[in-house]
């Protein structure tokens, strides 16, 4: 059964190939401002990426014509997107609110959201991890972690 035009273009490999071509072409622009010798290697790699991605695109479309279904990237997109969002917000929180507060919140939050619901286990894990980090890095090695830009340095 041939796929519709839309779903043919929405195949993961096709999308990736198109993405690489667009991004690599975008990066080619600044190479014009460089000396020829400086631009040589990066330009060669970008052009290589574009050419290879065209091959990848053609190969994937040929598979589509042959009626091969593309394997989906994930079976549970909600969980994947959720995981990515949580990781990014954790990084942002460290930056703006401070490392220790964010970590104390994130460890149990992530573990609870994704299915580990034992309150005692969460408490113990959080205390052990944060405590160890503090003891080794802050107390032992006097390493500073972000204190949060919101509070001013």
């Amino acid at each position: 059964m041939p796929e519709s035009r839309n779903s043919r273009l929405a195949r993961p490999e096709t999308l990736t190939a198109v993405g690489i071509i667009v991004v690599a072409a975008g990066f080619l622009v600044p190479t014009y401002d460089l000396r020829a010798i400086s631009a040589l290697l990066p330009a060669a790699m970008l052009i290589g990426l574009i050419v290879l991605s065209v091959f990848l695109l053609l190969a994937d479309q040929r598979k589509a014509s042959a009626g091969e279904d593309a394997a989906p990237m994930t079976t549970s997109p909600k969980r994947v997107i959720g995981a990515f969002l949580m990781i990014v917000s954790y990084a942002l929180a460290c930056d703006f609110v401070g490392f220790y507060i964010s970590t104390v919140v994130t460890i149990p939050l992530v573990a609870w959201t994704f299915g580990y619901r034992s309150p005692v286990g969460l408490l113990i894990a959080t205390v052990i991890v944060v405590g160890t980090i503090w003891a080794i890095f802050d107390f032992g090695m006097s390493q500073d972690f972000p204190t949060g830009r919101l509070w001013g340095r």
Binding site: S38, L52, M73, R79, V80, A83, V110, F137, P146
Partner: protein
């Protein structure tokens, strides 16, 4: 010189100095075993702290950490397919399949024994051959180093995986990332978009943590609650002395040690290249190459022996010439400077007790690895990684942030790592091979820099690249590695037909 070596021995056994090595090895294994934390990061965090310590205590800690971490990196590489350090990438090839087959315990034992053997060989090279080997380093000017880099890049063709187009895309991506930063000759910006943080280029640890640690974390969170498939009861642990007779990899160990020492004394390439090359060579000469990549213990042995064999040898150019052979050795050089140990020929004369003591510490670190690593790894770390999946995932996220943040002490690197993580997840799902990215990043810019230096020395004449024996040998080797396997295959095919 050899009497100096013996003279330094009693100091090494002073209890504080010896304890430093023991603590260092344990700390190194822990750091290496934590996905996201690397030896480079651990030693750079340690250096300011060592200002107040006795030289041999500080150096003992560093020697121990370096040795320990190069093995520790194998633990998550085997159990989770996350290389704990850049040098453990090649360990994932066969280590993870072994763990899936329920041979994780044996894989870790092979790793620890191989690491230890590599470390011991390397320490002996440092102790006995440092001055002559530093002469070898001097043979390598920019044009020779360029050919070494090309040789390394050529070995990417063995890492392309099932789909060569995807493999080449990975390689191009890696090489492109390596040119980000300031131009090696003129110093003008390339693709930094005005960000000062990118001027020094993309640190390998940032890329590695993003590409290799983030996708498995997403995997851990994606599948609903269930303890990790690889748990310690299935690790197949048996006492290490019972496992030893099953390890008959003398050829691989010998070759891997030699390669590791050799790559260590050349400036800049480092442990990952040693491990890749040792793995490729061992597979090429194996009687049953088809089992490689599906859980061949010898593959773990090849990778682990080589990534420990360059630890002490990377210090040979660092101590004698001031040019570190690996990123970790570069950070350690800072630790030496703090104690007034200036690299150079005088170092061995002015501070023999400290320098030779440091070498002994490398040797003992490598030996201690079997004793400490054997029991530690199989008993405790394997169990730690056996936490409920969501909890394990969330803890790794925190470790990734710490590991990347601590390299330079800035959040910018963390965001960069997350960007690479997103790319890594797509690559992982679409089965783009990751090793070519790593090798491309390590060697791409390195090859470019040395090519352009060589061309400047030759004032633009490309013939400068072929003007001496060392260069020509390297060119021949590269050609042999690239063309050799195809020729051999044709030869065998034609004989079959006949």
């Amino acid at each position: 010189m050899y009497s100096d070596l013996l003279h330094a021995l009693p100091d090494v056994f002073a209890w504080t100095n010896f304890a430093a090595v023991v603590i260092g090895v344990i700390a190194g294994i822990v750091v290496g075993a934590m996905p996201g934390l690397s030896a480079t990061m651990a030693i750079s965090v340690l250096v300011p702290f060592t200002f107040g310590l006795e030289p041999l205590v500080a150096l003992g800690l560093m020697a121990g950490i370096y040795n320990g971490a190069m093995y520790g990196g194998a633990i998550p590489a085997v159990l989770l397919r996350i290389p704990g350090t850049p040098a453990a990438v090649a360990t994932t090839f066969d280590g993870y399949p072994m763990a899936q087959k329920g041979e994780g315990g044996f894989a870790l034992q092979v790793a620890v024994v191989s690491s230890s053997i590599g470390g011991i060989a390397s320490a002996f090279a440092l102790m006995l051959l440092a001055p002559p080997l530093s002469k070898v380093t001097l043979l390598f000017g920019p044009s020779e180093v360029f050919w070494v880099a090309v040789f390394g890049l050529a070995s990417i063709i063995f890492l392309l995986g099932g789909n060569p187009i995807k493999g080449l895309i990975s390689a191009c991506f890696g090489v492109f990332v390596s040119v980000i930063g300031s131009d090696p000759i003129y110093g003008n910006d390339r693709f930094t978009f005005g960000q000062l943080e990118m001027l020094d280029g993309i640190n390998i640890v940032i890329l590695l943590v993003g590409l290799y640690a983030l996708p498995p974390v997403i995997d851990l969170l994606e599948t609903p609650l269930k303890t990790d498939g690889v748990n310690s009861s299935k690790l197949g642990t048996e006492p290490i002395w019972k496992a030893l007779p099953r390890m008959n990899y003398w050829k691989t160990w010998l070759r891997g040690s030699f390669l590791g020492i050799w790559i260590g004394i050349l400036p800049g390439a480092g442990g990952s290249m040693a491990a890749f090359m040792s793995y490729n060579e061992a597979r090429r000469t194996s009687k049953h190459p088809e089992t490689w990549g599906e859980g061949e213990p010898e593959g773990v042995a090849a990778a682990e022996v080589a990534n420990n064999a360059d630890t002490a040898s990377a210090l040979i150019p660092a101590l004698t010439l001031g040019i570190p052979g690996t990123a970790v050795a570069a950070v350690m050089l800072g630790g030496l400077l703090v104690h007034g140990l200036q690299p150079g020929p005088m170092l061995f004369r002015d501070n023999p007790d400290i320098v030779f003591g440091f070498m002994w510490q490398f040797l003992f670190g490598a030996i201690l690895l079997v004793l400490l690593g054997g029991s530690l790894a199989t008993n405790s770390f394997a169990r730690l990684l056996n936490l409920p999946r969501p909890l394990l995932g969330s803890v790794i996220i925190v470790l990734m942030l710490i590991g990347v943040y601590s390299i330079h002490g800035r959040m910018f690197d963390v965001y960069l790592m997350l960007g690479f993580g997103a790319i890594g997840w797509v690559m992982d799902r679409l089965k783009f091979p990751l090793p070519p990215v790593v090798l491309g990043l390590i060697l791409g810019g390195f090859a470019e820099e040395n090519l352009r230096l060589a061309l400047r020395i030759g004032r633009g004449d490309p013939l400068v690249l072929f003007q001496n024996t060392t260069s020509l040998i390297l060119v021949a080797l590269t050609v042999a590695v690239v063309v050799g396997p195809t020729l051999k295959k044709r030869f065998i095919d034609s004989r079959k037909k006949a």
